[in-house]
């Protein structure tokens, strides 16, 4: 019985989402990018990224052999772009996930509990909200050392505060409903109310918010990589740092500067459009306000 209801809700959701044109464009872009990232190990040879095995001329413009030209060591820019996509997407996704988990826990707790617990939680949230996230992330990355997992932690730990605020507001709204009061009167404990009542209600909002978070996480990851606090692997940000260090911008090597940046913009826009479409679909009240 619940299964058919869920299937009906899913079809309803799919139909409403399909009406958001911008969301469809976003989803299409994401599909292409994710497919490319997943298929890369099957279609290309990663050894081309080894500096010692590079075969192309240095900083050469696009040609038949190298469709997007070469970098300062003669490596194919296109190859690095594809492998970099995997890193950027993975780190972006995982850090958004981490940020969502921390933010949801803080948000629900701050909205559910009363008194000094909530006050302290809100204070901490506000503190993190105000602090410059990029600077904090850079310090964390430097302290914890390079590597994908530390970057994920650095980004996740510095970006959860806005999610927490959102979830808290939603939790307060949900808990104001009469059936929650009844549930409490029947003896429901904190854990029960938070997981069985609040969580399912805030889940759609969390989903939409996480999608938007991935967008900003990817920008943060590439910025960190560009500024030298990267994961150590080739990503779009490190490529751009390479282009900067070797003066690609000032010497006109546009094939090294444009593609990674355009990829970042495309993916970020795609996630943003999807996230906003999800917001509109899952929360019809917001629909007219945009």
């Amino acid at each position: 019985m619940a299964g058919t209801r869920r299937r009906a809700a899913l079809t309803r959701f799919r139909r409403r989402y399909a009406r958001q044109r911008a969301g469809l464009y976003g989803a299409a872009i994401l599909l292409v990018v994710v497919l490319a990232a997943l298929l890369t190990p099957l279609l290309t040879d990663p050894s081309g990224m080894d500096v010692t095995k590079a075969t192309g001329a240095r900083m050469a413009p696009p040609s038949m052999d190298f469709p997007l030209g070469t970098d300062e060591s003669g490596r194919s820019v296109l190859l690095m772009l594809l492998w970099g996509a995997r890193v950027s997407l993975l780190i972006g996704f995982m850090s958004a996930l981490l940020s969502m988990v921390i933010g949801t826990v803080f948000g629900i707790a701050a909205g559910h509990f009363r008194g000094w617990v909530a006050a302290v939680l809100m204070r901490v949230t506000d503190w993190f909200l105000v602090l410059p996230a990029l600077v904090l992330a850079m310090v964390l990355a430097a302290i914890l050392g390079g590597g994908p997992s530390t970057i994920i932690v650095a980004i996740g730990v510095t970006s959860w505060a806005s999610t927490a605020r959102l979830i808290r507001a939603q939790t307060l709204a949900v808990e104001a409903r009469p059936y929650i009061e009844r549930s409490r009167a029947l003896g429901a404990g904190h854990w029960h109310v938070m997981t069985r009542h609040v969580l399912p209600n805030v889940a759609p909002l969390v989903l939409a918010n996480t999608t938007l978070m991935v967008a900003s996480a990817i920008v943060t990851e590439s910025t960190l990589a560009f500024l030298g606090a990267g994961s150590g692997q080739v990503s779009w940000g490190t490529m751009l740092r390479g282009s900067y260090d070797w003066g690609a911008a000032t010497s006109g090597a546009w094939w090294y500067v444009l593609p990674p940046g355009l990829c970042i913009i495309a993916v970020v826009l795609a996630f943003t459009l999807c996230g906003r479409a999800l917001e509109t679909v899952l929360n019809p009240r917001l629909g007219g306000a945009s």
Binding site: S243, G252, V257
Partner: protein
């Protein structure tokens, strides 16, 4: 002249209001000091997490004997218990002694003092332009809601929001500073001034010329949020009854907007400007690095490369404290501007 009952009422009201203000100011000050204290504590423990021995890092390029290393350890206070180190740290920080840079061999406070000016120039100019531009566009977009200007400016703002600051900087460098094909570059490619900078009033123009691209980059990414906030605040105000009352009174459209809708919509926008300083700082770091603008951001990024922990620690604390102070200012400004909050 005898005081009328009216005057007595006014005086006590005024007195009460003043006392409430003083109480509010004290509470705010207390909260700010607490937050700053938290920053200092957090910085200390954060930087103690660093694996490895700081003395090794400090003497990387210099051959030293074990005795010299031991002496250095004592000098840096690393042989004392953690609690003593913490107290020492707090005291020194309050005295504005932020340690010595490994790379530059100079006091961190001195380095910061040199670099603060350019950063303030960049961030100040950038903020002023971004806030002005964003608010003006947001106002116009909201007032002509749904029209072409609205859709165009909102779309542009959202797109620019997705562009990484540093990449935009690279792009502008490529196009406007280095030049494309036959078209020459119009702006310098790095720094705040050239070696052969002119003196006197021409110096200001020279610096301004260098400021254009960094400022433009910063503005392009940051102005979007001011536009969006102003737009949504104004849209909310436009729907209120008092705007209809204003129209019914016979005011011109412009006056309704300027005298009624916009002042109300400004309140949340102004607060947001102060609260989002953290984000602007992040953008400034990228911009300073790309353009080699000699500010705190560049200093910070260079310290990552070292790694020069003393400099990192010092700039980190300074930036955090600055942001916290800005946030308090946001509350105070809101309190002063909104009469509803004032008497609460």
């Amino acid at each position: 002249m005898l005081t009328s009952p009216q005057q007595v009422r006014d005086d006590t009201e005024e007195g009460g209001a003043r006392r409430a203000m003083a109480r509010y100011a004290l509470v705010k000050l207390g909260g700010t000091l607490l937050s700053i204290g938290l920053v200092i504590v957090a910085t200390f423990f954060l930087f103690r997490l660093i694996p490895g021995d700081p003395t090794i890092a400090y003497t990387r390029d210099v051959p030293v004997t074990p005795e010299q290393l031991a002496l250095l350890r004592r000098q840096m206070g690393l042989d004392r218990p953690l609690g003593a180190q913490f107290l020492d740290f707090v005291v020194r920080t309050l005295r504005l002694d932020l340690g010595t840079s490994y790379e530059y061999r100079r006091p961190v406070a001195e380095l910061i003092g040199e670099r603060v000016g350019p950063t303030l120039l960049l961030v100040g100019t950038g903020l002023a332009v971004a806030v002005g531009l964003g608010m003006w566009q947001g106002t116009r977009a909201a007032w002509h809601h749904g029209g072409r200007f609205d859709r165009l400016s909102t779309g542009t703002a959202l797109t620019l929001w997705s562009v990484p600051t540093f990449w935009l900087g690279l792009l502008l460098l490529m196009v406007l500073a280095a030049g494309v094909g036959p078209i020459p570059g119009l702006f310098p490619t790095r720094g705040m001034e050239d070696v052969d900078a002119p003196g006197g009033p021409l110096y200001l123009l020279h610096v301004a010329h260098h400021l254009v691209l960094p400022c433009l980059t910063l503005v392009a990414v940051v102005y979007a949020q001011y536009l969006l906030v102003m737009r949504s605040s104004l849209l909310e105000e436009i729907g209120q009854d008092y705007v209809t009352t204003a129209r019914a009174k016979g005011l011109r459209d412009d006056d309704v907007r300027r005298r009624h809708a916009v002042p109300n919509a400004l309140l949340p926008t102004v607060t947001l400007v102060f609260m989002q300083i953290g984000f602007v700082v992040g953008g400034a770091v990228s911009v300073e690095f790309v353009y080699s603008w000699p500010g705190l951001g560049l200093l910070f990024v260079e310290a990552i490369r070292g790694p020069d922990y003393a400099v990192m620690q010092g700039t980190f604390m300074l930036v955090c404290v600055a942001v916290i102070v800005m946030n308090t200012l946001a509350d105070v400004v809101y309190h002063v501007l909104d009469p509803r909050v004032r008497s609460a």
